[in-house]
């Protein structure tokens, strides 16, 4: 029998651990990753000629980052590694890849999707202006390029990353002029029982807030973003927000990093015809999987933050678990004890993640309150008012129908940054629960391709 073909998409924490488990079983997996180097976004590597230490780059996670990079490097020669390659479609047990202008179609017996996450965004008036970045993007700037996104930076949104990136900026010598958190301290206290599932991570979080206060960075809780102010030519000049007690305040700045925790990249799971279900904790539609990562579609396995936001540590465990499930389904021997231990780890991380979603809730009501003139779709500059008008004129209250009429979600980011907020806005306008609005379908190509793409000459 020919060797089973296992394709791993993504080379972040889950993809690396999945590939490692497959290689350990004596198979040669194909590992396809969009980045130049493995590590994913969280353990993203700096270019070769940069010299900062692991401690400086990854802080408390330095040892994990190094272990992951070392593990991946040790796989050289044992895997078919394809960096800088996009998987842009999945159909009929094949993946379609693009590397520059070269395209290929690869069959698989098992497909392990480790697609990772992007920032979850809530639009705010003015967020289309130059100088507004996603929170994760602001971290990439620092980690992989040693730059700050501006001279005076505001961090706005919610979630653990808000504090992590703000403190990384402080450590690196950037000027952080404010941290504006939409969540309340009370929510954090209520979430404590779940957060205690991972005391060391919780402790790291507490240390970050201490560091910010020691550095004199103003941190405000329970704020409501009002507007990013500035000029359409020169960009951001400040942030307006409302305090918990209802006062209108403005902070001057030339850059804003915005993010509300993360959202999984599920387009490929969708194209692979995995079933999805609405998750009420996070207000996100998630591809369904069993405890080991098996999706509803045959031969498809889901791991890491691309399946559900459980964090990098969980991603390492779920990546390995998904690989063991795939190997077992292909009739290869696997260690049952190891599977049991990994399941226990993932369950613990899930409890912690539930705590995070309670401590830093998605501020759905902000979408409903967006003023008509606020742009909701950055790609094509479609305003909240345009979307509301489409709803009034066409009666569209289903996500894909509203997209077809309004173009919200049809632009080049394909709804990654507007889709969740647009669904909340539609739900509020129509007076229905957000799950009834549905979810934007994944469409191939999942990212734009060059027009000149073609099969590689043999």
């Amino acid at each position: 029998m020919a060797e089973p073909r296992i394709v791993v998409v993504g080379a972040g924490p889950s993809g690396v651990r999945a590939a490692e488990a497959v290689a350990k079983a004596g198979l040669r997996p194909t590992v396809i990753d969009e980045a130049r180097r493995a590590g994913g976004q969280i353990y993203r590597r700096q270019p070769d000629n940069f010299t900062r230490s692991y401690e400086k780059l990854y802080g408390t996670e330095a040892a994990r980052a190094k272990a992951l990079h070392d593990s991946f490097d040790a796989l050289a020669g044992k895997i078919d590694y394809r960096p800088e390659t996009l998987v842009w479609n999945i159909a009929a047990a094949h993946v379609w890849t693009a590397n520059g202008n070269a395209q290929e179609t690869l069959p698989y017996d098992a497909l392990i999707l480790c697609t990772g996450a992007t920032d979850r965004l809530m639009p705010v008036k003015g967020w289309n202006m130059a100088g507004t970045y996603s929170l994760g993007g602001s971290q990439v700037a620092l980690k992989s390029q040693a730059v700050s996104i501006g001279r005076e930076v505001v961090f706005m949104g919610s979630g653990p990353l808000l504090y992590l990136v703000a403190s990384q900026y402080v450590d690196a010598g950037a000027k952080v002029v404010g941290v504006l958190d939409t969540s309340s301290k009370a929510a954090r206290i209520k979430a404590l029982p779940d957060l205690l599932a991972m005391p060391s991570v919780l402790w790291n979080g507490v240390q970050l807030t201490r560091k910010l206060s020691k550095a004199g960075v103003p941190v405000h809780h329970q704020i409501t973003p009002v507007e990013i102010i500035g000029n359409s030519e020169t960009g951001v000049s400040g942030v307006r927000y409302r305090t918990a007690s209802g006062e209108d305040k403005t902070i001057g700045c030339d850059a804003v990093a915005v993010g509300y925790h993360l959202r999984p990249e599920t387009q490929l799971a969708d194209l692979a015809r995995c079933e999805f279900a609405f998750d009420a904790h996070t207000h996100q539609w998630l591809p369904q999987r069993d405890a080991d990562g098996r999706a509803s579609a045959a031969g498809v396995y889901l791991a890491g933050d691309g399946a559900k936001i459980l964090g990098a540590r969980s991603a390492e465990a779920s990546g390995k678990l998904a690989a063991l499930a795939a190997l077992s389904d292909l009739g290869l021997p696997v260690d049952k004890g190891e599977i049991t231990a990994l399941r226990r780890d993932v369950a613990n991380y899930s409890k912690f993640a539930r705590g995070l979603s309670r401590a830093f809730p998605w501020p759905a009501a902000q979408a409903a309150a967006l003023p008509d003139e606020a742009i909701i779709c950055r790609c094509e500059a479609v305003s909240a008012g345009d979307l509301r008008a489409v709803m009034r004129e066409t009666g569209a209250i289903e996500a894909n129908r509203a997209k077809a009429f309004s173009r919200v979600g049809m632009g080049r980011c394909q709804g990654r940054y507007c889709g969740l907020a647009a669904a909340e806005l539609i739900a509020a306008e129509a007076g229905i629960p957000v799950e009834q609005v549905g979810r934007l379908r994944g469409q191939a190509p999942v990212k734009p391709l060059p027009i000149a793409i073609g099969e590689e000459e043999a």
Partner: protein, 102 residues
């Protein structure tokens, strides 16, 4: 204005010389095009939909808001393309017009 991005370290790298809209720009080896352009300027591109200048957004290849062009018309994602000596970059698409909102 000066550059939008501020370098916080790793400045001891060889220089690379490129052209952006015909102007000479100096960057450092290992810079992405985005960092090269935003270390010397305030924005990357014009929104095709009439709402002003843009300077990228996600830095991880997901938002597509950092597209720039070569003089040959090839489209590059500035956040994930390395700057290299001799590049001739345009911040608007050659020979293209787009419908604006206005």
């Amino acid at each position: 204005m000066n550059g939008r991005f501020v370098r916080l370290g790793e400045t001891d790298r060889p220089h690379v010389a490129l052209h952006v809209d015909g102007q000479a720009v100096t960057a450092l080896e290992g810079d992405t095009l985005m960092v090269a352009l935003l270390s010397s300027g305030g924005t990357l591109r014009e929104s095709e939909f009439g709402d002003g200048r843009r300077a990228g957004f996600c830095l991880m290849g997901a938002c597509q808001d950092c597209w720039v062009w070569t003089e040959n018309g090839d489209r590059l994602r500035a956040c994930s393309t390395l700057a290299a000596s001799g590049q001739r970059i345009l911040t608007s698409q050659p020979e293209a017009t787009w419908p604006n909102l206005g």
